[in-house]
Amino acid sequence: MHEDASPSAPPALELSRVVKSFGAVVALRSGTITLEEGSIHALIGENGAGKSTLVKIIAGLYRRDAGTFRLRGEEVDFHTTAQSKAAGIAVIYQEPTLFPDLSVTENIFMGRQPTNRFGRIERKAMRAEAQAIFARLGVSIDPDRVTEGLSIADQQIIEIAKAISLDARVLIMDEPTAALSGVEVERLFAVARSLRDEGRALMFISHRFDEVFALCDTVTVMRDGSYIATTPMSETSVAELVRQMVGRDVAELFPKLPAEIGGDLLVVDGLTRTGVFHDISFTVRAGEIVGLAGLVGAGRSEVVRAIFGVDPYESGSVHVDGRPLPKGNPRVAMARGLALVPEDRRKQGLVLDESVSRNITLAIRSSLAKAGLLWGGPENAAAAVWSSRLEVKTASLDAETGTLSGGNQQKVVLGKWLATNPKVLIVDEPTRGIDVGTKAEVHRLLSELAQQGLAILMISSELPEVLGMADRVLVMREGYLTGEFPRSEATPEAVMFAATAEKEGAL
C-alpha cells in the first residue's frame, strides 16, 4: 500500500505489479504506473517491453493475471472495454481499429451515438459534433465518407477524435504520433495540453524522445515486461532514459563488421505506384547493408513489397544480379536470389498455426521434394539445421509457431528466408518487438551475412539501428526518396530532416 502517497486526492489511475501472460509468453511481469489528474505521463520502453499489453489491461481488453488496478482509489476489474469506457477511460490503440465500411462520424460515435428520447440516433447532432472535434484538431476529413481507404495518418486522427469525443477523465494514447506529420503532432499536443489543463489524466506512449520531453510531465520506463523507474521529466535526460530502457550501453547493440563491397546486386530504377510511391531508384551492392529510414507510413514497406513482387507497380524496373525481374512474381524473385523478411511477421511472415518445421521449409519446399514428393524427414532435417543455427528456442520442431515468443518467431522468419540461400536480403523492421538480447543477435547475423557477400536492404523505424548498422542510408517521405547518406554523413539530424522537414516547410 502506498500510505505515503498524497492522502488528499487518490491518483486517477493506479496499476501495481500487474502480471499478464499468454500461454508460455509472459508479456507483463510487473506493470506499475500511476497517473495523476492534470498531468501527462509518458510510458517508454523498447519494442515488446509490454507497454501495449498494459494499455489493453487498462482498456479491459485483457484481464490481468495478478496485481492491483485502482481507479480513483477504487479497485476495479474490467471484463470488457465497454466497462472501462463507462468508467471514463478513453484509449487510442497502437493499431487503428476502424470499421472500414462505416462513415467517419459513425466510427467516432459507435455504440454511444447521441439519441433522442425514443432511442433514435440524432445524425445531425452527431455530425456537427464530429466536425467540431475535427475543427479543434485542425484537420479536414469529410465526416460522411467511409473510412476504407483513408491514410494511416487520417485513421490515427479519427482514433484521436474518438477518444476526445468520449470526454474521458483518463486518456491513454499508445503511439498516437507514429504516423503523424510534425504539424499534426503539434496540434495533437495542443489538444493534449488543454485536456491536461482541464484536469484530466493522460498517458502517452512514444518512441520519440523529443516528443516525450516536449509534452510530458513524468516518465515511466519499462523493460522486458517489468517496471524500471518513474521520474519527473525535468530530472532526467535522454541518455539516462536510454540506459534504463536498454539496461546497457547502446553501442554494443550494433556490432558492425567490416565487409568487402562488391558489384550491384539489386538495382531499382524509377519504381512508381500511383498514390503510394514515386520514382524510387537506388542500388544495393554485395556486402553492403543499406538502411531505408523514414516515418511510419512513408511507403517503405510498399516499395520493398513491390520489388519482391507481392504488390504491383506501374512503371520502373528491378534488376537482381544484372537480370531484370518480372513484375508481380515472388516465385521468380525467389529463384533469382531475392528474399524478403516482411514487416508484420504474424500476418505476413509466418503461418502461426503451422509447425516451426513447416514454416522454416515453406519457401524451400519445392527443393526439398524428391521426385515431386515431400516427406516429413527432409523437412525436419532442414528445419533443425536453421533452428540450431539461429538458436530458436522451441521444445520441438512440430510446435505451433504461434506459441513461440516474438523474438523466436522472428528468428523462424529469418531462418525461413536464409534457407533459400539468397543473394539479396530485404529485411523490413527485423527487430520490431524482439528483446534486447535477440536484437543484438539479429544485428550480428545481418553483419555476418553482409560479410559473406549478401546485399542487404534494411528498413527500420529505429534511427539508432539504421545509423548503427547501415553502410548507406536512404530516406523516404510520403512515397518519395528524399535523401541518401553515406555512413559517415548519416547523422540523426540529417536523416530526420529528410524524413520530415520538407513537409513542414511546404505547409
Binding site: 518513474t230 525436419n380 533443425a384 512440430d398 543473394k423
Partner: protein
C-alpha cells in the same frame, strides 16, 4: 557469393515431435471419425438384419461414389478457405450434356469426355470469378449453383434421356469380379491416392494449408494464391463432371435435376471428416471416413426401418456436434492455460516497486 553452409557445431538439438507417434496418429479428429465409423459398422452388423449382406456394400458404395469423388477436390478447396456450392449443379449439367450428346449420335466415350470438359469449363468460370475478379466464393458459387442447374434444366426441358449403351451402363454398375465392391471404386481409389499424395506429400499440398491458414504469408512465400485456387476450382469442376457421367450411367438417366442438393451432402461429409471451414485443417482419410460414416449410418438406419428424415436429423446433429465439440475442447484448454497463468502470476511475489 552465398551463405556458408550452416555451421556443423549444432548448439541445440531439436526433437522432431513433441509427442510419440501413436499419440499423433490416435489423438486426432480423423481417428475419432474412423473410430465412430467402425463402431457404427460393428453395431449395425450386430443388430440390423441383412446389414451384413454383400448387397449392402455394393449399394452403399455405388450410391456414395459421386459424393466420395466430389469430396476429394472439395476437401482441397475448403482447406484453402474457399467453398464450391456449385458441384451438384455441375453434376446435373454434365449429366444432361452426356445425354444430349449421346442422343445426338456421338460415340459415348467422346460424349462423356466432352461432358467432363464442360465440367472443367464450369470450374473455370468459378475459378475466374473467385480469383481474377476477386469475389467471395460463397457468393459466386451460390450464383453458379443456380446458373449451371438452370442451364441443365433449360437444355433438356421436359425430357429425360434414358438410352445409353449397355456396355457403359454395365461398366458403371458391375462389381469388381469376385467382390461385392462396385467397379467405380477403382477410379475412385486411384483418385483418392493421387489426391492424398498431392495434399499430404507434395510442395503443392503444403502450399494449400499455408493458403488456408494465412494467405498473406503464403503470398509472401512465393505461393501464387490466385493460380492455386483457380486450379482447384477447375479440378473440382472436372471431378464433378466425371461424377456426373457416372451418375448418368448408374441411373441410365440424364435429367436436369440430377443430384439436386448433393452439394450439402458433400460439404456436410467433408466438415464431419474434420476439415475446418476456416481452412488450413483437415486430412483426406478423415473426409473419406466422414462420407462413409454418413452413408453407412443412413444405410443401416434405413434397413432398420428408420425413415430418411430421422437420418437427416442425425446427420445434422453429427455436424453441429462435431464443430461445437471442437470449439468446446479448445475453450476448455484455453481456460486451463489461463488458470495456470493466473496461478503463476499470483505466486510470483514481485518486489515492491520503487
Amino acid at each position: 557469393m552465398t551463405t556458408t553452409a550452416p555451421e556443423t557445431q549444432t548448439v541445440r538439438t531439436y526433437k522432431a515431435h513433441a509427442h510419440p507417434a501413436w499419440r499423433r496418429v490416435l489423438v486426432t479428429r480423423e481417428a475419432a471419425v474412423i473410430a465412430l465409423l467402425v463402431i457404427v459398422i460393428a453395431t449395425a452388423i450386430a443388430s440390423v438384419p441383412n446389414f451384413d449382406s454383400p448387397l449392402t456394400v455394393t449399394y452403399l458404395l455405388r450410391d456414395l461414389a459421386p459424393i466420395l469423388l466430389i469430396a476429394l477436390p472439395m476437401t482441397l478447396i475448403i482447406i484453402t478457405e474457399e467453398i464450391d456450392l456449385s458441384v451438384a449443379s455441375i453434376v446435373g449439367l454434365t449429366s444432361v450434356m452426356t445425354g444430349i450428346l449421346t442422343q445426338a449420335g456421338w460415340p459415348f466415350a467422346i460424349a462423356a469426355i466432352t461432358a467432363i470438359l464442360v465440367g472443367t469449363v464450369a470450374g473455370f468460370i468459378n475459378g475466374f470469378l473467385v480469383t481474377v475478379v476477386g469475389l467471395p466464393s460463397l457468393a459466386v458459387t451460390i450464383g453458379t449453383l443456380a446458373l449451371f442447374r438452370g442451364i441443365a434444366v433449360g437444355l433438356l426441358g421436359t425430357t429425360a434421356i434414358t438410352e445409353f449403351p449397355e456396355y457403359w451402363t454395365d461398366l458403371a454398375k458391375d462389381n469388381i469380379p469376385g467382390t461385392p465392391i462396385p467397379g467405380i471404386m477403382v477410379p475412385f481409389a486411384v483418385l483418392a491416392i493421387a489426391f492424398a499424395l498431392v495434399l499430404h506429400f507434395t510442395p503443392f499440398g503444403r502450399s494449400l494449408y499455408a493458403i488456408g491458414l494465412n494467405k498473406e504469408a503464403a503470398a509472401f512465400s512465393g505461393i501464387d494464391v490466385g493460380r492455386t485456387k483457380f486450379l482447384l476450382f477447375m479440378v473440382s469442376g472436372t471431378v464433378s463432371g466425371f461424377a456426373g457421367v457416372y451418375f448418368t450411367l448408374l441411373y441410365s438417366n440424364a435429367r436436369g435435376d440430377n443430384a439436386t442438393g448433393m452439394e450439402l451432402s458433400v460439404i456436410a461429409a467433408v466438415l464431419l471428416g474434420g476439415v475446418s471451414i476456416f481452412g488450413g485443417r483437415g486430412a483426406l482419410h478423415g473426409v473419406i471416413a466422414g462420407v462413409l460414416l454418413i452413408g453407412t449410418l443412413g444405410s443401416a438406419l434405413r434397413l432398420a426401418g428408420v425413415t430418411s428424415d430421422i437420418i437427416n436429423v442425425i446427420t445434422g446433429v453429427l455436424l453441429v456436434l462435431s464443430v461445437v465439440s471442437a470449439s468446446f475442447l479448445a475453450w476448455l484448454r484455453s481456460r486451463r492455460i489461463s488458470a495456470i497463468g493466473r496461478k503463476k502470476g499470483r505466486s510470483s511475489t514481485a518486489p515492491e516497486p520503487i
